[in-house]
Symmetry: C2
Subunit: 597 residues, 2 copies
């Protein structure tokens, strides 16, 4: 593949270019922004998608089409980046796209090899392709290596910076995280835009794969706005869309004019595109008087507000509505990209399975979702009635398979070992694991994926059975605290959903022994969720949590439950991530340890 | 806590110090090297261990005691490092140890705060404590962020380097990875020892937590030797010992004289200590004529040798003997640090469960290991006989629990759904999951940890049942290919073990349908393991593997199996890591992807 590194313009050529650039912004330049849903490693499909958008951009008379970070291979490719074969396929994809840029130029994302023998082999790069050539390759500087991100595992950070010339413009082209240090981000010592601004760019373009959480769209706008105000340049910002295993990318690509005003915002949670004439974005430079834009939406719940109002924040309508969208996309993409259409799940008559079922029906169509009701000798009659009413309302098929027979046979098989020891947690777990076995058997027989129905409060405290109710290929609610599951149920019903009132109102129970209630084993959910949120999302220690006004004994008890159950969560399926700190790849704790237990 | 950053010596003071240093090496300085087995997060126990070693060092007249990387909190602490409370406890531990250094000095490992507002909050540091004071804090420069390592997730790399003065010596003190770039490691652009050597040190000290794999002790000696020869200085190298969840640290701390000769080597796979008089290590400088040391042991199998001899390499006695030791330590520490004494496992009469059982009995004592034989209607009679013979030989308790009753009850419960569909994989999996349920029930009832018996070839190809034979708290053999499991069985028997010959000789079978053999579903194991090793450890692509002389159809079939089963491995328990690339935390692939499938 032919390509040339862009180097800083020097001497008289540079001066000439800058003169051209000084007036370039007033000339029309049409840029097509494209946020697409890529499939990791599916080069054929991703390239076809990009070429289709290029055709569309060309038809619409675009000068340039801008895609998102690592678009050719999908983000995050994770350890596939360690395979030379995978990198060669990325290069072949770039090459194929390059051949289609004779008219409209393209900025795409792909790994680039590091020609220097020192440092890691690859850069995470933005490629400017035009006239059938690679015109520039810009390397990412700030490599997120926290939460779900592992970029320093694969990439060398950029160590030189150059503005990219295009049609008389001088583009400060950056990749995702590169605009997230405005001099006050303690993770980094470098601010890439500070390096670029010295070369007098007239436009910022950033290609991102910035994942959703229920605060992140707001953070993102604030960061883009602050860059615009700091550097006095308009910004075109593209963001990936689509769910990749557990990480949901929400799109919402942005166009800001040079006065810091949001001019255009692409759709959230779906593919979208837009054409922008860059010459319209220089209102400040053209002397138009504009109002100073408002920072952040004042109506939004505040993450770090009064700690005693944390439940109010977690269950706020704005957050829950976004979570609803994210979970639908998460389910749809998991199935679609795994090549499955149909889901199965255990429907207990409780709130978690009800909400999971309602979401699955909305995402996949009720005809593709099979609910299995598996009453045990300890199930109350209303459990089956409520679960039946739910499926009738949703219109999805359901089966009733009592587990008494397998349960008796298991106890019989165990009787030489158990003797006359009293009923306990082992017998409770046997029931839960019979259900897991039945669900997996039906899934294996007919080609369903089992949806898991656990919530974050249960997962945090270990209130679940490995290989039983913790079984499944995808966890829908695993990043929602129990209080948020209730709020989501109400939100769904307000939007025309049909979760029976009895399911919303009865006391939560696992129904694995007579008259069992969650409250026998756990603190009340608002108190529990508050402590969990401080510990998991807030990374607060015991004394800090107590200082917010929580009973010390409760804090100690809850933190011990969380830390003692790392081994269970380690074997759990992917959790659709909606918060800033979900269980799974973004939270990595030792299993064998003794801290706060 | 009071401490002072060591800064480079300047001007006449520096010159004077260097004069002192020039002769210091000939004066006796006694250094106590200590490799201990820490428990992550267990500050009380770790501090007590360190203080006990300090007392011993003092009694023996040591000037300095050297411990290992992140000794106060245990390595790797992973995301506990994000908790301010955890860091405060590290600081309290350093403080407590500091107060015990009035006579003998100590070099310990602990996180250090970054006083600069720029960059991440923490450094991974070596602390020199003496006379009740913090004399120096040296920050780690090269932060391993590959395989099982995530250090850049937590730490800022050092950006200044200073030799540490101690008793007239000038110590080039480094942390683990810092000596692994000799100018030819493509992961890094900096060589910390090159920065330090300009300050004329006379001794190198490196504190490490360098994990075991069956090549790594050899690599480690080679790296230490090359540093010694490059810089012409002796090196004291301490390495952690003990297993941390899945990562085994094998100790083997090293002392090299300035001629590059290995003078002392501490024990492998157990705690050990040694006293070294540094003045004896300057043989080259003192003009003694010494023989040039030999690089690498020529008798060792070579990792990157002839690809057609890969099985010979994988099953070589040298490797298998080390793996045996590592697995015993891995089992012992998992149980000991989790606070358990007793193991349970399913004993099928096959090779994998036989080897797992033999290892568990050796690690925990046969009286603490319970084998459960769970014949199904498809089990051959010899399976039970062989498993009984094995347990009789080992002397561990066992139960026989036929699964026919629960299996019939499960099929009965499923019959309204399954109708008269023919027997298939779903029914096979039902049997496997009944076994998982029985084992977990007994484990829950009596307080056992379930040991998993899967091998790496099965895990790679997905030839196992989630929640069935893939259940368990710890995988003993999950990083051994099937051919290696056979080699280990033979090694155990040569060492006096009693794995029945019939188990070693019969054809492998899951026995989940009549006359089933592994070879019905999988290629022969030597061919399979060769392709797997090229792909998993070697990160070779399909065309590269074919180029080594393997059939293209076989390669495609095997790689597809590996990539299609990421979702299963994602829910698997920790695997004791013995190779350079084990399944689990060190291998991170997307679950939802389409590459080579």
């Amino acid at each position: 593949m032919h390509w040339a590194m862009v180097s800083g313009c020097k001497g008289s050529l540079a001066a000439r270019m800058r003169d051209v650039a000084r007036n370039a912004e007033f000339r029309p330049m049409k840029v097509f922004l494209s946020q697409q849903n890529y499939h990791v490693g599916n080069f054929e499909a991703n390239t076809a998608r990009i070429l289709e958008a290029l055709r569309q951009a060309e038809e619409m008379g675009a000068d340039l089409a801008v895609f998102t970070e690592l678009s050719v291979c999908g983000y995050p490719p994770r350890d596939f980046l360690e395979f030379g074969d995978f990198i060669r396929r990325c290069e072949e994809a770039v090459d194929e796209i390059r051949r289609h840029t004779s008219k409209v130029a393209a900025i795409i994302g792909a790994p680039a090899r590091n020609p220097d023998p020192l440092g890691k082999d690859l850069f995470n790069a933005a490629w400017l392709l035009h006239e059938g050539e690679v015109k520039a390759v810009v390397h990412k500087t700030l490599l997120p290596t926290y939460d779900v991100f592992d970029e320093y595992r694969y990439f060398e950070p950029a160590f030189s910076w150059s503005v990219v010339p295009f049609k008389g413009h001088r583009i400060a082209l950056t990749v995702c995280e590169d605009i997230w240090n405005l001099g006050d981000n303690p993770l980094y010592r470098i601010c890439p835009m500070d390096r670029l601004i010295a070369q007098e760019p007239d436009l910022m373009v950033n290609i991102s794969a910035s994942p959703f959480d229920y605060d992140h769209d707001d953070d993102r706008k604030e960061v883009v706005r602050r860059n615009v105000l700091k550097y006095g340049l308009p910004m075109l910002y593209t963001n990936a869309v689509g769910s990749q295993t557990e990480i949901v990318f929400d799109g919402g690509s942005l166009v800001y004019d040079d006065a810091g005003r949001l001019v255009h915002e692409l759709a959230y949670f779906r593919e979208d595109s837009a054409m922008v004439d860059v010459s319209t974005l220089f209102v400040r430079k053209q002397g138009t008087v504009v109002e100073e834009p408002q920072p952040r939406d004042p109506a939004r719940p505040v993450r770090n507000g009064d700690p005693s109002r944390i439940i109010e924040y977690l269950t706020g309508e704005h957050n829950i509505a976004q979570i609803h969208e994210a979970l639908l996309l998460g389910i749809r993409d998991y199935f679609g990209k795994m090549g499955f259409r149909r889901a199965i799940l255990g429907s207990s008559g409780g709130i978690d399975s009800a909400v999971t079922l309602a979401l699955a029906c909305e995402a996949l169509g009720p005809e593709h979702v099979r609910a299995v009701l598996m009453p045990s000798p300890f199930s109350s009659s209303h459990s089956v009635d409520d679960a039946v009413a739910l499926s009738r309302g949703l219109g999805n098929p359901y089966d009733i398979i009592p587990i008494e027979g397998p349960y008796e046979a298991m106890l019989q098989a165990l009787s030489p070992v158990f003797g006359d020891m009293p009923f306990g947690i082992a017998e409770e777990n046997v029931q839960s694991r019979i259900r897991g076995n039945l669900l997996m058997a039906i899934a294996n027989k007919f080609g369903y994926i089992l949806l898991n129905t656990s919530n974050k409060s249960e997962l945090a405290t270990g209130y679940g059975t490995l290989y039983g109710d913790m079984a499944g290929g995808l966890s829908v609610l695993g990043d929602l605290y129990k209080t948020q599951v209730y709020a989501l149920a109400q939100h769904i019903n307000r939007g025309g959903g049909c979760i029976p009132r009895n399911i919303l109102e009865k006391a939560p129970s696992a129904e694995l022994r007579p008259n069992q209630k969650d409250s026998d084993s756990l603190p009340d959910y608002p108190s529990l969720d508050r402590v969990l949120h401080h510990y998991i999302e807030g990374r607060m220690g015991p004394s800090e949590i107590v200082a917010t006004g929580v009973d010390a004994g409760l804090v100690e008890r809850v933190l011990r439950m969380v830390n003692a159950n790392e081994y269970k969560r380690n074997q759990f399926c992917p959790v659709i991530r909606v918060s800033g700190k979900a269980f799974g790849v973004g939270r990595r704790l030792p299993i064998v340890a003794r801290y706060l237990v």
